[in-house]
C-alpha cells in the first residue's frame, strides 16, 4: 500500500466473453423474487446505487401463483412458495422495459419455463427489448418432457436450456443453479460449456413445515424454497466448489446479511453477490454492503475486488473439486 490517494475499484464485468458485456458499478445485486421489478423499494433505498437487480421470475404465460399461505418463517430462514406469480413474458414486456429505460442501474430478467422451447421463446422476445442488461436462467424448474424432473438437477438438461437460450439472444446469460443437484459442479461445467456467460448460485432448497395444530402442511403448496442465513454454509460450499471448476464469473448468494457474509462468498470465489431474504428483513442492507465493502477494501489496501475473489481457495484450486465428496463431511 502506498500513501497516494486512491479509491477501490468495485466494478465487475459479469460477461467478459460476451461483446455486449455486463458491467456493474459494484458487485451487489438484488436477487430475483426479492426485489419485485425494481420499483417496489424506490421509496426505501436508492435503487440506482445497486450493482444491478434481477426481476421476479417471468414465465411464458401469466401466473396467479400458489394458494396461501405462501411464506413461513423457519429458524434463521424462511420458506416461500409464491408459485411464480407474474404477468407472463408478454405482460412483463408491455410494462417494465419502459420503466427500466428511465433507470441507469442494470436490470436483469429472471426466466423460468417448463420446456426448452419456452425458455428460448422468452429469450427471443427479450432480445429485442431495450433496457435489459442480461438474462438469468432459472433452471430450478420441472421439465415437463422429463416427467417433471428438475432441469437444474441434470447437467445435460441444464446445458440444453443454456444452448437454446444462447441461440435465441445475444444478451449476457447467467445460469442460476439449483442446490438440489447431486453434483452442482457437473452442472456448472455443463452450462459453462454450453455458453453461459456467468453462473449464479444458489437458488433455494426444497423444504416444508407442518402446522401441528391443524396436522397438515403449513404452506398452501406443501413444499417451498428455503432461503436466508440458515442456508448460507451450503451456499458458500457450493460457490467454493463451482468457482474452482469454471472460468466464467460466479455470482454467489444465500443468506447474506452483513459484510462478512459478502466477503465469505467473494473469498470462496464469487465475483459478485446477490441479496435476497436479507432485503426483506433489512432493506438498507444492499447499499450498506456497498459502502462497507468500499471502506473495507480501502482499509485493507485492496484496490480491485479481483484481488480477493477466491482468496480462500487452495493454490491448486481445481484439485478441490471432489473434496466435498472425498471428505464427505456429512457423516463426520
Amino acid at each position: 500500500m502506498s500513501d497516494e490517494l486512491w479509491t477501490p475499484d468495485l466494478t465487475v464485468d459479469l460477461a467478459p466473453n460476451n461483446p455486449r458485456e455486463l458491467r456493474l458499478a459494484n458487485p451487489v445485486i438484488a436477487a430475483s423474487g426479492c426485489f419485485g421489478y425494481g420499483q417496489e423499494y424506490a421509496g426505501v433505498i436508492d435503487v440506482e446505487r445497486l450493482g444491478a437487480f434481477v426481476s421476479k421470475g417471468i414465465t411464458p404465460e401469466p401466473r396467479g401463483g400458489n394458494s396461501m399461505p405462501r411464506i413461513k418463517e423457519t429458524p434463521a430462514g424462511m420458506l416461500n412458495a409464491i408459485g411464480l406469480q407474474n404477468p407472463g413474458i408478454r405482460g412483463f414486456i408491455r410494462k417494465y422495459p419502459k420503466l427500466w429505460a428511465r433507470m441507469s442501474v442494470p436490470a436483469i430478467v429472471n426466466i423460468s419455463a417448463e420446456t426448452v422451447d419456452d425458455y428460448a421463446m422468452m429469450a427471443a422476445l427479450l432480445d429485442e427489448q431495450p433496457a435489459i442488461a442480461g438474462i438469468e436462467i432459472n433452471v430450478s424448474c420441472p421439465n415437463i418432457a422429463r416427467g417433471g424432473y428438475c432441469f437444474g438437477w441434470d447437467p445435460e438438461m441444464s446445458a440444453d436450456v443454456t444452448r437454446a437460450v444462447g441461440a435465441a439472444t445475444t444478451l449476457p446469460l447467467i445460469v442460476k443453479l439449483s442446490p438440489g443437484a447431486v453434483d452442482v459442479v457437473a452442472v456448472a461445467e455443463a452450462v459453462e460449456a454450453a455458453g453461459a456467460d456467468a453462473i449464479s448460485l444458489i437458488n433455494t432448497l426444497v423444504g416444508m413445515t407442518i402446522d401441528v395444530h391443524r396436522r397438515r402442511p403449513t404452506l398452501g403448496n406443501v413444499t417451498g424454497g428455503l432461503s436466508g442465513p440458515a442456508i448460507r454454509p451450503i451456499a458458500v460450499r457450493m460457490v467454493y466448489q463451482v468457482a474452482a471448476a469454471v472460468r466464467v464469473p460466479v455470482i454467489g448468494m444465500g443468506g447474506i446479511m452483513a459484510l462478512d457474509d459478502l466477503l465469505e462468498f467473494v473469498m470462496a470465489g464469487a465475483s459478485a453477490i446477490q441479496v435476497g431474504t436479507g432485503i426483506f428483513v433489512d432493506p438498507g442492507l444492499p447499499i450498506r454492503l456497498i459502502d462497507e465493502l468500499t471502506e473495507w477494501m480501502t482499509r485493507h489496501g485492496v484496490r480491485r475486488l479481483d484481488e480477493i475473489v477466491g482468496a480462500a481457495q487452495p493454490a491448486a484450486a481445481r484439485q478441490f473439486r471432489f473434496a466435498g465428496v472425498e471428505t464427505a463431511g456429512d457423516s463426520a
Binding site: G43, V44, I71, N80, T277, G284
Partner: protein, 280 residues
C-alpha cells in the same frame, strides 16, 4: 382503493421533501399493560413519520436482538395511536409467538428497527355521518386510531368490541368520550353474551360505513350477520386482513389476498379491503 396505495405517500403531507427512507430506528419510551396480557408500547420516532399518519397503516418491526437471526422476519403492527406533538407511535402488542413475546419484553431505552408507514388506510367517505367500528381482540388497535379520526371529524361513532372474557376488553377510557361503546364477551362475563358480530345487525341501517378489524372468522360472521339488513353493498364494509409478511413493500408477493381483481399484495393494496371485494 387505488388512491390509498403506497405510491401516494412518498411525499410527506405538508412538506415537499420526499421521504428518502421509510426505514428508521425508534426508541421505546414506555410499555404499559392493557387488555389482560397485552401491552401498549410507546416508541419515539422521527417527527416526519408520525405526520399525517392514518388508521390502518402499519409498521414492520424487527423482533429480535441485533446480532441474532432468529426470529428472522419483521412483524407487522398496526398503529394503535399517535402522539403527533412528541413524534411518538403507540402499538398494542399481544404476546402470542416468538416475535410478539420479544416485543412485549422491551423496556424504556431499548431501540427498535422499524419500516413504515406501510399499507393503505381505512377511508371515511366525505358524506359519512354515522360510522360503526367493530373490533375483535387485539384487532382493536387500528379501530382506536380510527375512532379518534372519526370523532375529530365530528361524526357519530359506535364502537363494538368483542373479547373472549372481560380482561380482553379495551377499557372504555381508551376511547374518546363521544364514542358509543358496546361490548360483548364470548362467556357473557360482561356485556352481550356471544359474538360481537351479532350486535352489528342493529346498526346496519344507521351506519353509513362499517369498519372492522379482527380475525378472518369474524369477517365471515359479520358478513352473515349484516347480510339480510344491507341494501346492495350499502353500507360498505372495510376490513383489515392479517397475513404473514416478508417485505411489506409488494416485492415478494407472499402476503396476497384473493380479490375480484386477482391476487393482490395486502401490504400495499391492503391491509384494508372492501369486504365485498374479497374472494373467501
Amino acid at each position: 382503493m387505488s388512491q390509498r396505495q403506497l405510491g401516494g405517500d412518498l411525499t410527506v403531507a405538508g412538506t415537499s421533501a420526499p421521504v428518502r427512507s421509510r426505514e428508521f430506528v425508534g426508541e421505546v419510551v414506555g410499555i404499559e399493560p392493557i387488555m389482560g396480557d397485552a401491552a401498549v408500547l410507546s416508541v419515539d420516532v422521527p417527527m416526519t413519520v408520525v405526520h399525517g399518519l392514518r388508521s390502518g397503516r402499519f409498521f414492520e418491526i424487527t423482533c429480535r436482538d441485533e446480532v441474532a437471526f432468529d426470529p428472522l422476519l419483521r412483524r407487522p403492527y398496526s398503529v394503535y395511536r399517535i402522539d403527533a406533538e412528541r413524534g411518538r407511535l403507540l402499538f398494542l402488542v399481544r404476546p402470542f409467538g416468538r416475535g410478539s413475546a420479544w416485543l412485549s419484553r422491551r423496556r424504556p431505552g431499548d431501540r427498535l428497527a422499524l419500516l413504515g408507514p406501510l399499507g393503505n388506510t381505512y377511508d371515511i367517505g366525505p358524506t359519512s355521518q354515522n360510522v360503526l367500528l367493530i373490533a375483535g381482540g387485539v384487532g382493536v388497535a387500528p379501530m382506536v386510531m380510527l375512532a379518534d379520526e372519526a370523532i375529530g371529524r365530528g361524526l357519530n361513532v359506535t364502537f363494538l368490541m368483542g373479547a373472549t372474557t372481560v380482561p380482553g376488553l379495551l377499557p372504555a377510557t381508551e376511547l374518546p368520550d363521544r364514542v358509543e361503546y358496546v361490548v360483548a364477551t364470548d362467556d357473557g362475563s360482561k356485556g352481550y353474551h356471544g359474538f360481537v358480530t351479532d350486535l352489528a345487525a342493529d346498526y346496519v341501517r344507521w351506519a353509513d360505513q362499517i369498519f372492522a378489524c379482527g380475525p378472518e372468522s369474524m369477517y365471515l360472521e359479520l358478513r352473515t350477520a349484516i347480510g339480510p339488513h344491507r341494501i346492495g353493498r350499502r353500507p360498505t364494509v372495510q376490513v383489515s386482513m392479517e397475513r404473514e409478511m416478508a417485505c411489506g413493500l409488494g416485492a415478494c408477493l407472499g402476503c396476497v389476498v384473493e380479490t375480484r381483481h386477482g391476487m393482490v399484495a395486502s401490504c400495499i393494496q391492503g391491509p384494508v379491503f372492501d369486504l365485498d371485494e374479497i374472494i373467501w
